[in-house]
Symmetry: C2
Subunit: 242 residues, 2 copies
DNA sequence: CAGTGGTCTAGACCACCGA
DNA sequence: CGGTGGTCTAGACCACTGG
């Protein structure tokens, strides 16, 4: 079998070379969105490697959204280009430390509330059922950077109110006590409430990035949180390479 | 070999069953972040399938960010949980049509400008070099939903100014004429400029989501665009499942 | 050194699609 | 029906890690 350049041990794995080849054809404009990609058999001939190797290469491209595969039909260059941003659901404590700054917390509220209609709906509980509530203010080098307004399902973390949030952030506490199975979020632009503006030390007219996030742990909706970032000092970013 | 339940043809592929098993252990809290995951050999014994199948299962979990693998060392449950939002870099035209609404465009400006220092820097051109510029307003059912302020590298799309943006949006035009190799973006909250507010028909005090995006095509930085979405009517969202 | 994961092969059977 | 991709096997060699 006429293998790939095996003079050097393995400059690049065979499947990576196949991926690179396919991407190059697309990047160079030789294969355009909607055009067919050669079948696995054809690529197998061309590269002189086993079908499993070709399959791996093309399968990974499909996962990355570069091509679309249909069983029985074939493979085509994908119409949509994806930007796969991968935001980590991370602990703000570690995030700030990584920037070499000091992270501190002030607990503004910590109590149990009765679920109103909206809360009951998100947590799938009865109206009036108890739900834990915490309101924290996070500082980076003494500057307020995030308001964390969080509701927690007692079924997921019965001892939540007893946690020491000066040591362990709610995010970390919940990750440890209510293993994550699912999460959804949305990012929007809002004006802060009077309280939020006061906490963050900004004007009510200064726009904020607000991330609301809902996490599921096993059978329960574990937590719903609203994270408010001040002004134009914060942004969510991402990068993507074909 | 004591295979998996083969009575029914294949309820679920073997590798999916392995993935489900591992995820279940994590979800149930039996295996916690940092804990080791059984070796491929061990799982092979346990499930009675070939190592390739186990390898595929665990490798995919690694890609998804559920576990971390280190060659020669082993596999552990990942410390970080990832939210992999996959924003499509899509054509707003198709996006609006998919919602069953009508999409229209108004071209506000279309011209050539001389690169200032900032533009020259992003495009890696000389100061004073010509750069195409377009300013479009997008409507959904007649309501303004996006201001698209775009700069284009003439080297990537020499005929950009001659395109008919009533038919083909700049996004689509560029995807077709300058195949995408790389893109980066950031999302922030801003107040609109006086002009943007006027175009969108909103107050200057209403916050906007602003996505700035830079695309690379082959050797050139192809385009830099600022997309302004009005008020709190727009959000970027994502979901993630363990 | 033994154990781990990373890659690869040369077959195989199947489900699906389009003609 | 032939061609496609989806899955799987039972081996193999390698690079890397740890003790």
């Amino acid at each position: 079998m006429p293998a790939l350049s095996k003079l050097k041990p393995t400059p690049l794995p065979a499947y990576e070379q196949v991926k690179a080849f396919v991407k190059a054809q697309i990047t160079l404009g030789h294969w355009r969105p909607g055009n067919p990609v050669p079948s696995e058999a054809a690529l197998q001939q061309q590269f002189g490697v086993s079908r499993m190797t070709i399959n791996r290469a093309v399968k990974e491209l499909a996962v990355e959204g570069v091509v679309t595969r249909v069983q029985g039909s074939g493979t085509v260059v994908a119409q949509l280009h994806r930007i796969s941003s991968t935001l980590a659901l991370r602990d703000i404590h570690e995030e700030v430390l990584e920037r070499g700054h000091a992270h501190t917390v002030r607990v503004m509220q910590l109590d149990t509330v009765r679920a109103d209609k909206a809360l009951a709906s998100t947590f799938k509980l009865r109206v009036g059922a108890p739900v834990f509530h915490s309101l924290l203010l996070h500082f980076e080098n003494g500057v307020a950077i995030q308001v964390e307004d969080r509701y927690v399902n007692p079924a997921s973390a019965p001892d939540y109110l007893g946690a020491d949030f000066d040591t362990v952030t709610p995010t970390r506490y919940l990750l440890e006590h209510a293993p994550l199975t699912e999460a959804s979020y949305s990012i929007e632009a809002c004006l802060p409430s009077a309280q939020e503006a006061k906490f963050l030390g900004i004007a009510r007219s200064e726009p904020c990035l607000v991330m609301t996030r809902c996490t599921v742990s096993g059978p329960h909706v574990a937590s719903w949180v609203r994270l408010v970032y001040p002004g134009m000092r914060y942004s969510f970013g991402g990068k993507f390479q074909l």
